[in-house]
């Protein structure tokens, strides 16, 4: 199996990734935007999850909350992902060799799959329990899983610079 290391070394050596890595303002700007977008995104996701588990907005229809939060969730998820990819391209080998970064990717993928399963399956039948303060068990489970997986994603991301287990 060919190793991915040469590809990452090539990416790291490109003119634009090198310029960004060495830049006094470009890098901190992207890094700050990344974190700021995640903070807002996580807050919006948590509010939806709290409705699902029955801790907030229980008297508002779930579909109404989903309709209002979803565009803002996407408007912050897209730039946080884009800036995240940029940050990875600046230093691909360092992240590739960081076990907490790999853990973050796993949690992120699981959180994404959970959201996808909820929207494509569970939420399709929302009419039946839209106004119930306590939603169906499977929907509540999606809320709990979302809270847990996004928290794990953020905590493992936060630990990446500690450079443990290198």
């Amino acid at each position: 199996m060919p190793s991915i290391v040469p590809a990452f070394a090539w990416l790291e050596g490109l003119a634009w990734t090198t310029a960004l890595r060495e830049s006094p303002f470009g890098y901190p700007l992207i890094e700050t935007s990344h974190v700021a977008c995640i903070v807002v995104f996580a807050g919006l996701v948590i509010m939806m999850d709290l409705r699902l588990v029955g801790l907030a907005f229980t008297h508002a229809p779930l579909a109404q909350i989903q309709r209002r939060l979803f565009p803002w969730q996407m408007a912050t998820f897209v730039p946080s992902t884009a800036t995240g990819i940029l940050l990875f391209c600046v230093d691909p080998l360092r992240y590739y060799r960081n076990v907490l970064f790999l853990a973050k990717l796993v949690f992120l993928a699981l959180a994404g799959l959970n959201a996808l399963a909820f929207h494509l399956k569970t939420y399709r039948r929302v009419e039946g329990w839209d106004e119930d303060p306590q939603v169906t068990a499977i929907a509540r489970l999606a809320g709990v899983a979302s809270l847990l997986l996004w928290s794990l994603t953020i905590v493992s991301s936060r630990l990446i610079p500690n450079n443990w287990f290198k």
């Binding site: 060495e22 890094e31 709290l50 801790l55 809270l147 905590v155 610079p161």
Partner: protein, 137 residues
């Protein structure tokens, strides 16, 4: 309602407790304040990079053996603010770095000051380092 808000705060608090309050990768977690080092050697490479720069320095041990050091510096924006430029570094130049040794990795150090061959002296410490007087006021 009050119980619910309390519950939410409890959950949020539990997640905050996972990581005790500390600055972005805390100095004390990686470097040993009781092990100050003065490294007089040859710069083999300088990485002028975010989020931290790295000076690779070779020193001579008392027994003549060469020791390789990897010295963390502040980010490019901070190095520039203290007057240092990427062009100040050439591979093979001599330099003196003062800093603190790593806790678990003896070849790792956190740089505080850098003196170049021409005598110019720079502060290269990261944000969140110890208050040891190295940082110009």
């Amino acid at each position: 309602m009050k119980t619910k808000i309390f519950l939410v705060m409890l959950v949020v608090g539990a997640f905050c407790a996972v990581q005790p309050a500390q600055a972005h990768h805390a100095f004390a977690a990686e470097y040993d304040l009781t092990k100050p080092v003065t490294l007089n050697g040859i710069v083999t490479r300088m990485e002028w990079a975010n989020p931290h720069g790295w000076i690779y320095l070779d020193t001579k041990e008392p027994n003549g053996a060469v020791k390789h050091w990897m010295i963390e510096t502040a980010a490019p924006s901070q190095l520039s603010r203290h007057g240092l430029k990427k062009a100040d570094f050439t591979d093979g130049m001599t330099a003196v770095v003062k800093g603190y040794q790593g806790k678990t990795d003896p070849g790792l150090a956190n740089g505080r000051t850098l003196v170049l061959k021409d005598g110019r002296n720079f502060y290269i410490g990261s944000v969140g380092g110890p208050n040891d007087g190295a940082e110009p006021q």
